[in-house]
Every structure is written in structure tokens, then in C-alpha cells.
Symmetry: D2
Subunit: 335 residues, 4 copies
């Protein structure tokens, strides 16, 4: 309460809190009165109390999520895939491939080279809505088939982005890990449907989302029954313009403290520039990331999308070599 | 080109640009070489040039949008509604109503009071996906019927948010202005479908979207054939935590310079706090906004969502009186 | 405390808080324990508690400032100047003039025209350290003499920026209002010295400063004994690049709620572009600002600094006319 | 130029550019005219052209700095200290010590333990102006003497922050590396004086400073004649509130590309929380940092400032062990 709050105002706030289902504890100090509301109600909007007369400040003490909190599974979640690959244990999982699937030749060539270098997941976009209405929009289901074929040939798993509820049934036969893009992090209808699916989900942080909001979106998935959730840091929007986004490496140790969910980093989208991908990939692993999502293209200069941020296969090779040196420093190993 | 770029590198860049369809102009200075690429290709990713060897910096000179640019319609767009109401001319259009539709009694009461105060649009949410999975999610089609009934009774227009492609046919019979929320500003599939609709669209700026990105999303709508687009400033995410978002009032004169589209402001979501709504609404009109979107509730303390940012009817009345004084300063009037 | 905190951990935190001089209130709920620390100690770093084992979250309930808080002077501060001009009452005070003082002819010409239009303060920079080491750096004391001469001739007050402790004695004979620039908002040594001065201070918000930090810097001045403080919103740094900074208009009603100090806005530095100055100046007054700081130059095209954001005298005239219409909407008037 | 610009407007702009000393190249395309201005004038304010009638957009192609640019010293700068320690070569230099110097016992204890773990610089604050006027403000010259004594005893170098021009002569006898804090990054008077000093300077990035602005401030130092400059990333202000600031790890590879200057990272201030320091320190080295600045305290729970972000000596030991594993991945080694 504000210092000059009247006893009547204090009573109104207490009454309101009790009506909302809370138990109220009151501390009256020399200068001001502090009220503590204790209860189970998680959907409470603190601003409803903030605007009452005489109220100074309102703070939420309980975190607004429950299932994703670290103490729900203190030992940490390990997401297990059919072929035995795990995300979240002592292995650093690497997911690599082109931004968009462009042709059979391209997908096979990239898959072979990233597999040889140690990647366990093949990534690639099938649907590519772009910020300009005048650019390449993706191959759709044909792309999914090519990803599956290439992954099976080289013993890999497929991760690809789902953009709408209607695409879910289309993707399920081809994909091992369903990616939710940054722009859909708060598409709650999509999250609700994915909560019902029995395949793991990779949830990317929105460019303006706080870590708490990222975890709250993960809570949507878990509340729906899907406990195989991996979150992904891919850069936030800041005032710095040299990079497309600022990859928030500190999100990695923070998520690991707040939640039991595995977290991977995407340095390709996080920086938007090829020459910054390797330094940031190394940084993510050194900070404790459970995996990486990296764009690699057999011929980036001719890529139909995001070629500028795709590594050449030989750059990816070199990076994997560096990561094999770094991982043991944090008690991890690379496949 | 960088100062130390070789002639061979310069030639490679020139060749690449010509292959991309540009005409190239070369200026060789004492210190460095500058290349100008002139052409019609709008979907060009400047990073493809940035990563070539020897390149210093690349700047896009042409704006990436065409139909929304001011010089496409220098006189400015006026969106005209069936009952004669216009957005974009010399009138300031006020859209008011509850955050969510909760009951027939509520909608009728709010509609009557905001109409009497001078609002020409009734706003209200039918679908309310929320960031927490544990809160009120909206009444759906029943809400749309109540909005239509109330609007017809008091001679108003209906504006309500569409969140998915599948909701479009459901909403068309009830709604005069289809609102695209901040989280969907870059849902390009949704924008593409709305481009085919023959009803006006109100496009809200995403909380991390630049003004250029907002206009590019408007371009999607216009490229699809829907020229009746109104954009809306509703606050961006900044480091300041006192308000939920920072309402970027300067976006108003900027959009008016860059584009012919009308722009309105939403001070309710932009600030998130009732006592800041009136000052920011006045500021928006003083800066030249074509309209306002304001949450009003007959009983904000009992609102099922966002009650803390809803005005009481008498506060809305008082605000409208202030706006009637301010509007003439910018050559406008209120209904 | 975290849900899994042990009783021993709870006791350690309680002990630590008591050692720090707080009285501790304990609420034990079904899920977790909440501790309330009540006391007078304002210099407390909440992170010292956050890092203790078992602690979940720590919130500061009391505001960290005291003298600048609204309840210290609920009626609001009015800063009174020798010639009877006031900042903070029912008048909107306008401070106008060139970015830098360049010549006697320039200062007299600008002073005459802004005075005629209604400005009561003449602004102008004497010291101009710039972000590039290769640009114009200001005329120094000669500039101060010219400002004083022009202000006296036209019955105005002088406001000019002080950049270092050593400049204070130099400026006192010439200046009525000492401006602290955005980059010095947290130059605490300078603030401490200005706290001892018996002249009003205009404190500008830093481009990355929260409103709380701005008020904490004002507290430095008041804690030193100088109660004549005016704060100034001049734009914050955000991801938007079209404007130099984003003028945070919402800071105006927020400061007026949290503090008794007057607040003015600087739309010239806040936008950096001449054609955005008038809309943002109107917005600031409509939102309740106590005054404006505006750059006007008799010949902006030849200005030695910031010409691009300076108004032509006739634009300033027109703006003042608009402000005379708007001010009464918020119960204010222009000189 | 805008598409609808008249020939007369084009001629006016050309004339203005020529008057400013540029050579002008003109490209006339189907839709618009592009003007290229080539010349040596670095202090040019692009907004002076932006506001001319008919102008569409203006871009600066040449970087505004010269001496700090990578091509000024393509091989990279190595800052050499009297005892043979280097910053910028193949060694990762570690600077460690308490936030503030508090007592002789404290400084000696911390110096001994960080030296044994491998640090080559002893850091510590002598002057501590704080954002609250009610907190500990530092020991001053006594602190400098203690730092020198401890450094000499254990064969270390001293780095400490200089906050004002008047402190420079006081510090020179005691300090090997003069640190400029984030709040002073654009204190150009201070930078100008430090440009004349013949001791290395460690320049910290401001929390709202772009990388270009950081380099421009380094240019001030070099323009004054001091070529021994090390820059430091210490976190920027973003919307994320979980950490005090967001340590921008990507600034490390970016600075190394744009400039020849060494760059170190400060994960203590960059995160503000002890448990995030080690992950971010590892990330910085993995991304290619030339060194680290880390707060270590023999008894953080009793520290007079920033105890919450100080490592315990044993945590620092463990971190140094991890860094010895990581450094070889990027071709570096630890002392």
C-alpha cells in the first residue's frame, strides 16, 4: 500500500483479495502496510490490484508456470528419439541442414556432409512464408518427403517447422521433431494442438519474448499433455543493428536454472551472418547448451533463402572439430 | 567495397549483381570503390552481397514496399464504411468497447455509453487466447452476434480480432473491420487470405516490429487486392518496465510520411494501465492519428480480461471532451 | 523461498535479514514460505538475498527514492525563476533556441523570433563534445555571454548545459537553469556538486535509463539540498531505427504520478528530425508536460550542429499557435 | 532521391553536396535518381541532406572511424605491458579482483588466490559513485596504494577505473591499465585527456551504445595519440529483465572483424548474478575474446558492493580450469 493509504483502502484491497480466493497476511510497519496474498490461483492479473485506490506496488511471487519449473523434475528432462538419440543428457545434439529444401540433390548432398561431420538431426524448411510477399515460399509436402528420404538414408532424424494447425497431420509421417518458429511462439491455438501430439516439439523463443514468456508457452504444450519439449534461443531484438538479432547466450544458463527442459541455440538465425555462426555456436556450447540448430548449404551462394547465414560444409566440419574440444569443459560430448 | 578490395573482388561483385538482374554503376574514389545496383528486383536479400569477399557495406536504397508507399497514393487513403463513416479523412474515428465480450448486458451497456460519448465503432474480443493456459478464452461466435446486435441498435460499426484463417468466414457476417493482432502481424498465411477479403482490415504493429516491417505486412494485404487497410500503433517492447509496452507516438507522423494508409493508436494495450490511457490518447490525436482504439468497460473491476486497462464510461466521456478541444489544432474534428 | 527450500535455508535468510537491520514477517503457505522484510534501510542490494540458497525471488516493495516521491510534496513542485516565470504550475514553459551558439547575430536573431512566438527561456549550447572527434566543439564562455546578452535584451531566461564540475562556477553568472545532459544523468560526482548549487537544474533522462533511474538521479540533487529540479524526457534507445531515439511520451504521466517534480519534453533530440518535432511537441503537451525544449535556428541549413532537427522560426511560430489550442484541454495555458 | 523528385530538387542536392566538398556521381534509373557523394569529409551529418526537399534516403558508406578500423592495422593490435604480459596475442588475459577495494587484508587475500589460479591483472575499484546517493562510495587513493602493493607482491598488473579528468594524475603512479566505465564511454572530455596519456586504456561499452559508437569512442583515444586501447563488452540493456544486462557475446567476433583492437568481456557486470558468470566467461572465450574481467571476493556475502555478482575464490579456480580446456579450440592459451 502507499504510505498515505487509509485504513478503508487497506480493507478494500483485503476484501478484494479474499474474494479472489486468496488468504491474506498483513504486516503493518512504521511507514506502510504490506499485504501478502497466498493461494493457488495462477491466472491472476496483478494489474487488477494495482489500480485499486491506495495501492503502491504489486509483485507476483509465485512463478506463473508450474509444469516447466525446474522443481517439477529436478533431475532434468531428456527427450528420447526412436533411434536412441537423446536431447538433454550428456550429449550435445547438433541439428543441421539448409534453410529451405530446394531439391533432392541439395538435400542429399547437405545431409551426407553434415552427417559425416557428426550432426544427428537434419533440418530444413518446407513452408517458408517470408516478410516480403514477393519471395520464394517453400516446396511444401514434397520437401518433407525429401527430408525423410535423406534422413533415412544417412541414419538421421528430421526436424522441420510447423506453421499452422492444418499442417500438423501432413507433417507427422515425415518429421521426428516439430519446430515452432519464433513468430508462432505465442500462437496459443497452435500450441494447444501440439500439446495433444505425441511427438517432441522444438519451441523457439520469439524475438521480443522474455524468458518467462518462453517458459509460459512451453507450459501450454506440457499442460496439453506433451512433455517432450525442447526450447531454443535464437536471438532477441535489441538496438544493435550490426547483427539481425542479438543471440542471448545468457538465456541458456537461466533456462537451465528455472526449468528442467533442454535448451538448444540457433546461431544462424541469431546472427544472420555466416562469419558469426561459428563463434556463437562455440559460445552456446561453452555456456551449457544441450544442442545447436545450424544452417548448412552445399552452395550457399545459390540458396533460395538465407544463403548469407548458411555455412559451407567445410566450415561446418571445422566448427564440429572445435566443439569436440569445448564440450568436455562442461562435462558434455559430441556424437 | 572495402578499401583494400582487389580489382578481382570488385569484378566478382559486379558479375554477381548483373546475374541478379541489376544494372551496375561504378564510382572509383581515391580510397574506395562504390558500386550502385539499379533495378526492379524487390525480393533481393542484401546479405547475399554483404558476405562476398572485399565487400564493405551494402545499403538498400529503394524501399522494399511499393503499394503502401505514400507516392502510390499521394492524396492519402480514406477507408469508407457502409454507413458513411470514414477513417483517414478529417475526422478522428474512435473505436471503443470491452476487451472481451462477456455478456449481452455488458455489451449493450458499454455500446450505449461509448456511442453517446461519440465513438463510431464498437470493439470487443470474441476469441481470447491468452499467454497463460489457465485463463478465460472468449465466447466465440456468440460474442460476434452480441457485438452485431449492439452495434446495430446504436448505429455503430463492429471491429473484432481474427486470429486464424478458419475464423474468417465465421466473422464476415458480423464484423465491419477485421482486426489483425500484434502477434499475427507476420502471420503471412493469414495476411494472404485477408488480402482476398473485401472488407477493411485493421493491422496492429507487433511489439518488436519496426515501422518498415509493419508497412511490409500491409503490403501483403494490398498485394492480395485488399486496399482498405488501416494500421495501428499499440506499443513496442523496450527496456522500460513501468508500462507494459512503450506506445511509440512518433510512429504516427512517420507512417503518415512514408505511407498513404490511415493510422490509429491503441493506448489501452500500449500502456496497460487505466490512468495512462487518457494522456496517451490525447497525445496520439495531437500527433496526427486518424483514430483511436480504446477499451471501456461498464464495470472494469469485474472484467474477465484486461480490466486494469479499461476506462470507466465516465472517464471515456471526459476524454472525448478533451479530444474535441485538441483535434482542431491539427485540422481534425471528432464525430 | 523456493518450494523445496529447507527450514534451515529459511532460517539462514531470516538471520541475514535481521543482521541487515530488517524486521522479518513470515507467511508459511501450503506450497512455499514467503518472508517480508520491513525496515528503513534504503541502500539494500536485493541480489545479496537472491543468491542465498533456497531463495526463489526477491522484490523491493519500497521505492528506492524518498525526496522525489510524489508523497513528499503531494501538491507538486513549482520551480520559480527571478523574473516570475514558473515551471510546474498551470503554464506550459517553452525553452527554445539553437543547438549551439555560433555567433552574436545568430543568437540575437533566434532569441527575438522565439520570444515573439512565446518562448520564455533561451536555450543554446556553449560546450559541444561530439561523438566524433572531428567535429565542431562549441564556443565556451563566449557563448554564455552571448546567451545572457540576448536573453536580457528580450526578457528571457537562459538554459544551457553543464558538462563538468569545473564548468559550474563559469556558468553560474550567465545561466538561470543548469541543464544536465542525457550522457551525464548518472555522473554522480557532477550531480553531487549541483546539489550544492542554489540554481535550478534541468535533468535529462539518459537514453537507456529507466524512469526509476531518472528519479534516483534527481534524488541525488535533492539529497544535496537543491530542491529546484526539473526532469526532461528526451527519447530512449529502442530497436526502431527510423528515428534517432523513441520519445517516450508515457514517461510524462508516469513521472507526474510517481513524483512531485515538473517534467518537460525535448522533441528535437527525441526524434532527431525536423518534420517530427511539431507532432511530438503537441503530443507532449497533450500528455501533460510542464514545458518543452525545442531547437530553433534562423538558418538551419547552415547550422554547425544538429541543423537537421532545428525548426525554422516560422515553423516554431505555427507550432506555438497549435499548442495554444491544445493546452486548455489539459487545464494549462501558454505564456 | 524520391521517385517524384523534380530535376530542380536534384540540382539543389548536388549543389549542396559540392559546397560541402564532395564529388558527386549521378545514376539516373527508370524509377529514380541515385546520387553518390565521394570525399574525405568524415564529420558530415547525413541528416542535413535527408531534410532537403525531394530526398528519399541517405546512407553513409564510409565508416565514421579511421584509426580503429581493421584495415589500419590488419595484423591486429597487441597491447604490451612492462612485465611482458600482452593483451591481443595468443594468450587470453584474465583480470580479476573485488568490485571495490575494502581493506588491505581483503585485497591481499583476493590477489593471492586469483594469481594462483592464473589471473595476470588485479582489478579493483577505488572510486565508486553509485546510483543511490545513500551507499558506499569507495576508498580513493588509499585503495590505489593497496592494489599496487598487492599486485607487486604477487607479480600482477593493476587495472582500475578512472572517473574524472582530475583523477588521472592521481592514478598514474599506481595503475597499469586505466579503465573507462560504461557510463563514461561518451565522456569525450575524459577520452581526450586519456588520449594524451602514455598508459593503456580499457574502454567499456555503454549499456546503450552500438558497436559503432564504442569504436568511435576508441577513435577519440587513438586520435589523441594513445594507441594502446582495449575495448570491453559488459552487457547492453534489453527488454529481458532476468539479468541486469544482456551480455552481447556477438560483439566479440564483430569487433574483431571491424577493428584491430583487442576485446575483453566482463561477465560479472554483464549478468549481475554469480551463477551466470562462469557460463558467460566460457562463452566469451569460446567466441574469441582476448581476455576477461571478473569480480572475485574472498567473502562475497560481506562485500560492500556487488557481492551478489562476485565469485568465491574456489569458483574462480574451477572456471580457470574450464577455460584451459576451451582456449585451445580457438588457438589460444591461458597464462
Amino acid at each position: 500500500m502507499q504510505e498515505q493509504a487509509t485504513e478503508e483502502q487497506v480493507q478494500q484491497v483485503i476484501e478484494r483479495l479474499i474474494n479472489m480466493g486468496f488468504e491474506v497476511h498483513r504486516s503493518t510497519g512504521a511507514l506502510k502496510t504490506v499485504l501478502g496474498a497466498v493461494g493457488e490461483r495462477r491466472e491472476f492479473d496483478i494489474r487488477d490490484i494495482e489500480v485499486l485506490p491506495g495501492v503502491g506496488e504489486v509483485h507476483r511471487i509465485s512463478s506463473p508456470y508450474k509444469l516447466v519449473a525446474r522443481n517439477f523434475r529436478p533431475e532434468g528432462t531428456i527427450v528420447r528419439f526412436p533411434n536412441g538419440v537423446c536431447v538433454g543428457g550428456d550429449q550435445v545434439a547438433v541439428m543441421a541442414g539448409p534453410c529451405s529444401v530446394e531439391s533432392r540433390e541439395q538435400v542429399l548432398a547437405v545431409a551426407e556432409s553434415v552427417r559425416r561431420a557428426g550432426a544427428s538431426f537434419l533440418r530444413g524448411g518446407a513452408f517458408k512464408p517470408r516478410s516480403s510477399p514477393y519471395t520464394f515460399q517453400g516446396l511444401g509436402e514434397a520437401a518433407l518427403k525429401l527430408l525423410r528420404e535423406a534422413a533415412d538414408k544417412f541414419g538421421m532424424l528430421v526436424v522441420s517447422e510447423v506453421m499452422e494447425i492444418s499442417q500438423i497431420p501432413l507433417m507427422l509421417p515425415y518429421v521426428d521433431l516439430l519446430q515452432v518458429g519464433a513468430r508462432n511462439m505465442q500462437n496459443f491455438n497452435l500450441l494447444r494442438e501440439l500439446g495433444k501430439v505425441r511427438k517432441p516439439v522444438l519451441l523457439k523463443r520469439g524475438i521480443a519474448a522474455t524468458i518467462e514468456e518462453l517458459l509460459l508457452s512451453a507450459e501450454y504444450l506440457m499442460a496439453g499433455g506433451n512433455y517432450d519439449v525442447i526450447v531454443c534461443e535464437r536471438g532477441i531484438r535489441t538496438f544493435e543493428t550490426y547483427t539481425r538479432n542479438t543471440l542471448d547466450i545468457s538465456a541458456i544458463p537461466i533456462v537451465k536454472k528455472l526449468s528442467h527442459l533442454p535448451i538448444v541455440a540457433d546461431p544462424s538465425h541469431g546472427t544472420g551472418r555466416r562469419d558469426k555462426v561459428a563463434p556463437m555456436a562455440r559460445a552456446a556450447v561453452a555456456a551449457g547448451a544441450d544442442g545447436l540448430l545450424i544452417e548448412v548449404h552445399n552452395c550457399p551462394d545459390k540458396a533460395l533463402s538465407d544463403g548469407a547465414q548458411s555455412l559451407y560444409p567445410e566450415q561446418f566440419d571445422e566448427l564440429m572439430g572445435q566443439l569436440r574440444v569445448i564440450a568436455p569443459a562442461v562435462g558434455r560430448k559430441l556424437a
